[in-house]
């Protein structure tokens, strides 16, 4: 029998160094974020949970998440505690006598116990998951609003459907879905090209949008507000840019918005985007690969001018919209598919900084300075 040999740094040192460095790194990150430690700690705790849900279905999912989280956390600390205890308690320092520990081969009772208990835990988790699934996945026979989200590379459009749930009332070309609060929304999902996924983090929900297979789900948003959504299934180069928003509003506001949109859709497709003939100085702007070629534009103050906009993305819609510092839309150019170009006649603007943005792709944005 050989004597135990020295084997480099002792395990206690290794564990201490690793632990100390992790704690230092953790505290360093906290301090970098600000001095208010209590608030920082709260935000760290919050980061282990999904955002507060804004739909009835999302709340169910959040409750389930909390259960799974706490069960998982308890199991982690128990088992990790056993591992660390065994390491410290049964650590054999070099130089001790070389006799063998008891050669235990197993223990049937113990092994049955640690099979049955985990089995009971996972069966319980399965049952509550199944119950929640039935609630979350339920469909209403009479949804209040039916919308069809069309996910195409790389933008979202929303078709508002008539009560028959099939015919289109009007199409919302900008990637914003407006829905009334506390009502059942039936969302149909359609893709003309590849797989996408409709995902709103605050809904705690996503569903794939698969060509040839119209998926759907119901939700009831119970908090007014604007929520960010994004495609969650890889769909190509600009997958990352495929974003949208969901705006949850009171019924009255929804009705007004709805009437306005429907009226606009029924009106003759007038060149509302281009009131008046192109005039004034001309500014060139182009879009390719879901990006503008310029980050800043300059225009003269108090003079109408023209933007010559080239859309070089084949089959992808773009436009130029101009918003003031408060986000109020001052001009919204016609949305059109590339490859094509349009002349947008922009009304006179007072001096100041404005934002220009593609309505379909809110990531495409830049600054318009009017001097």
């Amino acid at each position: 029998m050989t004597t135990p040999r020295r084997t480099g740094p002792s395990p206690a040192i290794v564990i201490l160094i690793a632990g100390a460095l992790s704690v230092l790194a953790f505290l360093g990150i906290l301090l970098l974020q600000g001095p208010d430690l209590a608030a920082q700690l709260q935000s760290v705790v919050d980061s282990f949970f999904p955002p507060a849900a804004v739909t009835e279905q999302g709340r169910e999912i959040r409750n389930l998440y909390d259960i799974v989280f706490w069960v998982g956390a308890v199991i982690f600390f128990l088992v990790e505690g056993l591992i660390i205890f065994a390491v410290i308690r049964y650590w054999r320092r070099p130089g001790k006598s070389a006799d063998l520990p008891p050669q235990t081969h197993g223990n049937n009772l113990l092994e049955v116990v640690w099979t049955i208990i985990p089995l009971a835990i996972v069966l319980a988790l399965f049952v509550i998951s199944w119950q929640t699934l039935n609630t979350v996945d339920a469909r209403s026979a009479n949804p209040d609003v039916s919308v069809r989200a069309i996910a195409a590379r790389f933008q979202w459009t929303f078709e508002y459907l008539k009560p028959d749930g099939e015919t289109v009332e009007f199409t919302q070309l900008s990637p914003e879905m407006v829905v009334p609060v506390n009502e059942t929304i039936h969302l149909k999902l359609r893709s003309p090209d590849v797989n996408h996924a409709f995902y709103v983090p605050e809904f705690l929900f996503k569903r794939d949008v698969i060509p040839g297979q119209d998926n759907n789900f119901d939700f009831v948003a119970d908090q007014t507000g604007t929520y960010r959504g994004q495609c969650a299934e890889l769909c190509g180069a600009q997958h990352w840019a495929m974003q949208f928003t969901v705006r949850v509003v009171e019924r009255a506001e929804y009705d007004a918005w709805f009437a306005e949109q429907r009226a606009a859709a029924q009106a003759t497709p007038a060149p509302s985007a281009s009131p008046g003939a192109p005039s004034g100085p001309q500014i060139d702007l182009a879009a390719a690969n879901i990006a503008f070629d310029k980050a800043t534009l300059e225009a003269p103050a108090d003079t109408p001018f023209t933007i010559n906009f080239e859309n070089n993305d084949a089959g992808i819609p773009h436009n130029v919209e101009i918003r003031d510092a408060d986000g109020v839309s001052l001009f919204k150019g016609e949305i059109f598919n590339g490859v094509d170009s349009r002349l947008y006649a922009i009304p006179a603007l007072p001096a100041g900084d404005y934002t220009f943005i593609c309505t379909v792709h809110p990531n495409m944005t830049g600054t318009l300075s009017v001097r």
């Binding site: 980061s47 998951s129 180069a237």
Partner: protein
Amino acid sequence: MATTALRPAVPARSALYEWVTTTDHKKIGILYVINSFIFFGIGGLLALGVRAELAFPGLQFVEDSAYNQLFTVHASAMLFLFIIPMLAGFGNYAVPLMIGAPDMAFPRINALSFWMLPLAGIVMMSGFLVQGGAAAAGWTSYPPLAEATYSGQGTDLWIVAVVLIGTSSILGAVNFLVTIFKLRAPGMTLLRMPIFAWTILVTSVLVLFATPVLASGLIMLFIDRNYGGNFFDPATGGIAVLYQNVFWFYSHPAVYIMVLPAMGIISEILPVFSRKPLFGYKAFIFATAAIGALGFSVWAHHMFTTGSVFLPFFSLMTFLIAVPTGVKMFNWIGTMWRGHLTFPTPMIYALGFLTMFLIGGINGAFSASVPVDFALHDTYFVVAHLHYVLFGGSVFAVFAGLFFWFPKMTGRMLDETLGKIQFVIMFIGFNLTFFPMHQLGLAGMPRRIADYSSTAGWNDLNLVATVGSMLIGVAMVPFLVNVLISLRSGKLAGDNPWDANTLEWATTSPPPPYNFDHLPDIRSERPVFDTRHPEAAAH
């Protein structure tokens, strides 16, 4: 005495010729390990590219189309060209030795299975040279995105490469099964076989059942792309989700192909450095078989959000697979309990495995719960989960195995201090990289996005993850230095430097080409222990 020297029947060849033409399972095993490590390096550099791009919002280093190639080839290289072949390499090296066989059953097929891998790797990487770049549809390559309309020639090269690797795996699996069933030494019954050999046995069964399904799916995709097959493209009457079913029917069992042998390595190392037998040897074998069997009934948990899966069944099976996995965790802890623990580098890595794999098991339960998966699917939470299983689990086990068997393979020990320095850097780097991904996923960051808005609240955690990934890269420096120094001047190992128990330690380091001059009696799963401790052997 005659003065004529015996002349070798075959004239001596160069070392290179020896290695290229070898059919010795030990040399082939080492070739597997070296080749896999090269692709680990390539896949790692691609991952650093991904992390560099995500460090800050905005596209700084690569275009979004190139970014998609980076993560696609990163995952494909790590799974198909690193983890699976690396573990097959350990199997190749260790299994014949462990069961007292002189070689694999089919040495030439063994060489063929190996040499298909570098070829496949070159084919996959050559995608970067063709028009449109390498495969960019993710390692899952879901149609319609992977169809010819949306993806270039790189995807064809990717399909050819993965089918080649699959063929190599199938040949290897047949070889392992025949070796294990036909070449065990006298006395080496199945229930005396080392756990690592058992995990290779179960893995080979998984490969044999699952890999042909992947190959057929990929060939259908190839036909779709090049000959108008109409299998998966809805635009021509195909079914997009069909591919996902076929793909995951292989790729979920593939997770166990990547994890079971890693568990096997850990189950060899923990008893050695606890000076005890594995706690619950038979239960461990049943748990391994149960994971293998259940592994075939959980594939659709990757598809919960497709809206075309019978959710409760796959949810139940996914939860159930946690039970045999939990049994193994308790068996490992039971092995250490009341042992005499020492902590050379292989043991340190094994402990790292236990902790990381524990997290990877628990965060997997979140996705087994279907409604929770609706929130977490395709977010960075899933990226965290899979890396805790495949990096924290499999890769830590790979390093445990490298430090454990390097003395047997080369006759020299790896340096302990450098090994522990590497462990500390890698352990911290790993957790800095992948732990924040849980929080990123919960905060709604989808995977596979090249860029994110600076107002989404994901900036800090992404930067932390990138710093962590650089640390993982740094951790490879002491390892490479360690291997180069130790090969030349490492401490001589002797036959059994760890006082280990299985048959590979009963022969010289490195073993002769025919493996054993003589075998000890095999009366338990620890024949070398029995020889060393005849007083304790009677049981």
